[in-house]
Each structure stands twice: as structure tokens, then as C-alpha cells.
Symmetry: C2
Subunit: 316 residues, 2 copies
């Protein structure tokens, strides 16, 4: 396993990608508890919400308050999604460490989800970069290329189009770029191919991988991406999150499951798996009726507490 990174960062996106797909509206105090417990469990990058019009996503309307709280936690990178310049200006004013601008490489998905073409988004990232530079702040701008492995609305998304979007985002001023399997179409072969190309293009500015477990392949895809050198993944506790255009989607890679797998691979994450499981259990009580995913919570951690057959009475 020596080709894999020795250390991997999980960015918790449940408060954004998760909550935006649920009908429940969680009170701000609960979200602050969530942030504090996630931080205590070792998470050091959290996407706390979106700067979208509150009437569009009331679940995320308290994002400014969450940013303000999260910024008080030492060493925590606080990120938020922004769909456009207006949202970016609000995010910059709140002092986020990183803002993520989503772009759909699928033209059809882009129009349905963002009401813009990919090139409209690329131009907007240029304006966001100008606004960031004018503000003189250190906020990082990340261009996240979604539907990178295919799209439920459009079908095939050509790899060349994904690469074109990545290059254009970097050209207009994104600091980093990421690849997302928004609808859960990716398999390890496609992941290995596309991330290898993306790294050749973007180098260290290839920031993060984002996988959904729609076809049960999220963790296998992480392994494929690790093999190309990717060392940061978006995950959500309990795997909450989906896409309105991805029927049957079963959520993001679950934070606790991925932490467990990486621990087995002796890849350092800094995460306390039991604390993650405890927080996930609290989330299920805060969000009754919502669907949670994840195998580790169902099956429990393996009982490997040091017993061995040589110590069992029956082996005497």
C-alpha cells in the first residue's frame, strides 16, 4: 500500500451537501453542537453551509452564523458553497477560509441545477477571483467540477470536457479544483483514469475527490483515487446527501466508514472513529425520519480487543 498517501484529510460536508437534501431544518444551536463535536472528533475541514438565497434553501439560511462560530475553533478550515458572485461577496465578508464554486461538466445538469452553462460558471469564477483580490483576503477559491463521471440527465460526459472545465477554472483564477461524481456513476477504472489526467493538468492544485455511494462504489473509488495521489475527500456523517437529479442516490461517502477504512490501511486521518459514531448517533436523533447510511454504524466496530485463540479457555 506504499503508493498511497500516508495522510488523508476528510472534509465534512454533511452540513451542506447533507442538509440541503433533507426536508428537516436543523436549529442553529444544533448545528453549532455538530460543528463542535465534529471538531472534537478530529475533523479540521468543515463545509458549514451555502451562501444561496435563504428562500431557496431555508435549511442553510443560518450559514453566516455558522461561519462566525466555526472561525473561533483553532486550526479549523471553514468552507462554504457559493453559486455566484453575490454569494461569494457574502462569504468573503463573513471570512470563510475557502469558498467552493460548483460547476457541472454536464451541460444538461448545469442548466437544470445551476441555470447556467459551464462557461457561465467559469466566467463567474473570474469575477469571484477579482472580488477576492479586491478584498485583499486570504480566502481560497475552489472550483468543483461535478457530474464528472456521467450524468443522469445527459448520459456521457466526455473526459475532454471535464479537463477543459478544470483548465478553464484554473485559468480564470480558481486556486484549486476538485472532481465530483455528483450522481454516483463512477467506478474505480474511471476514477483512476480521470484523476490521473486531472493531476497531470492541475498538479497540487487538484484538491479533493467527492464520491457518492449510489452503486456501492464510494469506498472502492476512494482507493482508486488514493492510487493517483489524491489525499482529500468530501464525506458526510451517516452518508447524508444526495442530488435531486440522481434517483436512487444513496448519499455521500460516509465519514465514519471512510475513516475506518483508512485506519485499516494505516493512513493517518487524525479522526476518532468512536467519536464520529457517537456524533452520527446524535444526528439520527436530531433528524428523525431522515435516511442515514453507513455500514460501520449498522455492524459496529470489529471486536478485536486483543483476545486471541491462545488465550481462550477452549484452546487450552
Amino acid at each position: 500500500m506504499s503508493l498511497y498517501p500516508s495522510r488523508v484529510v476528510l472534509r465534512e460536508v454533511g452540513m451542506r451537501d447533507g442538509l440541503q437534501s433533507l426536508s428537516s431544518v436543523l436549529p442553529t444551536e444544533r448545528k453549532i453542537e455538530w460543528i463542535d463535536a465534529a471538531y472534537a472528533a478530529g475533523l479540521r475541514e468543515i463545509e458549514v453551509g451555502s451562501f444561496v438565497p435563504p428562500e431557496r434553501l431555508p435549511q442553510l439560511a443560518d450559514t453566516p452564523a455558522l461561519v462566525a462560530h466555526a472561525r473561533t475553533l483553532p486550526g479549523l478550515s471553514v468552507s462554504a458553497l457559493v453559486p455566484n458572485l453575490k454569494g461569494a461577496e457574502r462569504a468573503l465578508a463573513c471570512g470563510v477560509d475557502r469558498l467552493l464554486v460548483p460547476l457541472s461538466a454536464s451541460h444538461a445538469h448545469s442548466l437544470a441545477n445551476l441555470r447556467k452553462t459551464p462557461d457561465d460558471v467559469i466566467a463567474e469564477v473570474g469575477r469571484i477571483r477579482a472580488a477576492r483580490d479586491a478584498a485583499g483576503v486570504k480566502t481560497k477559491i475552489e472550483g468543483g467540477v461535478g457530474t464528472a463521471f456521467g450524468c443522469t440527465l445527459q448520459g456521457v460526459v466526455p473526459e475532454a470536457e471535464v479537463m477543459r472545465c478544470l483548465a478553464a477554472l484554473l485559468d480564470v483564477g480558481a486556486d484549486d479544483v476538485s472532481l465530483a461524481d455528483t450522481v454516483g456513476y463512477a467506478g474505480p477504472g474511471a476514477v483512476s483514469r480521470l484523476f490521473t489526467q486531472a493531476r497531470a493538468l492541475a498538479g497540487e492544485r487538484l484538491w479533493c475527490g467527492h464520491f457518492h455511494d449510489t452503486r456501492g462504489l464510494a469506498l472502492a473509488n476512494v482507493i482508486a483515487a488514493l492510487g493517483t495521489g489524491v489525499d482529500r475527500f468530501d464525506t458526510s456523517l451517516g452518508g447524508i446527501g444526495g442530488c435531486p437529479h440522481a434517483p436512487g442516490a444513496s448519499g455521500n461517502a460516509a465519514t465514519e466508514d471512510l475513516a475506518f477504512m483508512l485506519d485499516d490501511m494505516q493512513i493517518v486521518t487524525g479522526l476518532d472513529i468512536d467519536a464520529l459514531l457517537a456524533l452520527r448517533a446524535r444526528l439520527t436523533t436530531w433528524l428523525p425520519g431522515e435516511t442515514f447510511h453507513g455500514a460501520l454504524a449498522r455492524a459496529g466496530r470489529p471486536l478485536l480487543t486483543g483476545a486471541s485463540w491462545t488465550t481462550l479457555p477452549s484452546a487450552a
Copy 2:
């Protein structure tokens, strides 16, 4: 992905590992339909049942009839599980191509599940080898070392004990040996480590990997095993199968999900995924009330039928 085998064999074990864990008893005619449809979908290795006393597992009492039918299909390797010499003698008389003798590397699991110690099983494999040689038949003898990654009853299973069992099985006359994560404890790190050691020990006589999806890692574990050169895996349609000593177990790696992943990795399996999904759908009607697993059946195959953004009206 060039380090992986270019061709992989899936051995369907749903009729044995699956049915033995279900309370339903499927009529022999249905099982024959199952064999025929699995064969038509491209499966060329099927474990059709077990030669255990019919009163212990009535679900599998028709194994001799199934072997007789399966032997009529050209190119199909027909295997069956045997717990002891008596079962092996029956299997040899029926003309199976391969008989699998299970051994639990966990002493506690071995006593609970087989009522024998690992060394009792090793000695029995020696007797089975003698019986096979005396019969003058070509039946292969496979020693399957289970609980190789830990055990719900015992906890840790030392790697050295697993290797000792593998070596002893080969020494007493097993043609091939396999490793199984009977209770779903394995992660990719442990898989890579143990299969690398096993290959160093057994070479080409390391035959097969057997993973359960208890903690959502079955497919990730397959990738880890592929990386060590393993090119054969036990799977079951719909992931049916479990272990009475593994609470929360969620079945075997699902044949259709693994076929889908390998196809994405451009690894040849010879399998028709749509035919596998169709057969899985029939199984759910034959086994009402039983729990089926697998993500592909839930989410469907990706809609990648050649459309691309350049051909969509909205992109004009």
C-alpha cells in the same frame, strides 16, 4: 490499473453460502433454473451446495441432484462444500469438479461452527486427499481458511496462525487454498497484507478470495486483493449469505455489483450484467421475505447510452 489481473473469475456461491443462511427451502427445479440462468449469464464456476447431513441443512439436501444437472453444462466447474471425509466421499461419488473444505483459523469459531479444532480439519483434509487419490478422479480439493481477518467470537486471529493453517493444508494435500473474511472484519490494509503473505506461501495455489460486505468494504477489499494478484472471488447474487456468528452481517460481495465494478476497471469477467440483474430479480420472487443486498439493483445501471452534451437540444 495495469497491476491488476486482466481477467477475473467470479464463483457464484449463493446456492450454498446464500441458501444455507436463509430459512426458505427452494425447490430443486428452481435451483436448476438458477444454475441454467447463471450459466447463461456467463458464470462458469458455481458452488451448488454442501454435502452435509440433510437433517442439518435441509435447504441443501438436494445437492447431489444439482451436481448431476450442473455437470451437463459444458465448461462449468461444479463445486460443493464438504465438512468432512464422509461428505467428501459423497461429493467424489457425485463427480464434483472441486470440493471445498472449510477451516476456521479462529479456534473459537472452529469449535462453534465445525465442532473441530483447525488441526482436526487439517488431518481430515489429509484423509480426503487419500480418498480422492484412491478414487482416481480429477476432483480438486480446496482448503478454505475462514475467519482469516478476525472473529466475532474470539477477536484477533493472528496472521501467523492463518499462514500456519494455509501451509498445513497444502502439506496434507489440498490442491489449492483460499482466504475468507467470514465475519466481515477485513479492510483493504489487512487484505493486502494477508494475501501478499499467502501468495508468497502458496503461489498459484492461492485460489480465491471470499469477502462479506458487513462493513461496506467488500468491493474495496476486492481491489486490495486484486493488487496482490488474486483473480478469483466468491460472490453471490443479491449478496445473499451470512454467518450465524456474525451479527449485522450483510451478506457476501454481490455478484452483480462486483461484475459492474470489474467491468468499469476493464477487467474481463465474461459476465452479462443485465442477465445477472434479471436473474437476481427472479431470485427475489422465488425467495419472498428474504433480505437481498446490492447497490446496482437498487440504483440501476448508469444511463450512459451514448448521449453527450453536444447532442442535446439544450446545448445547441
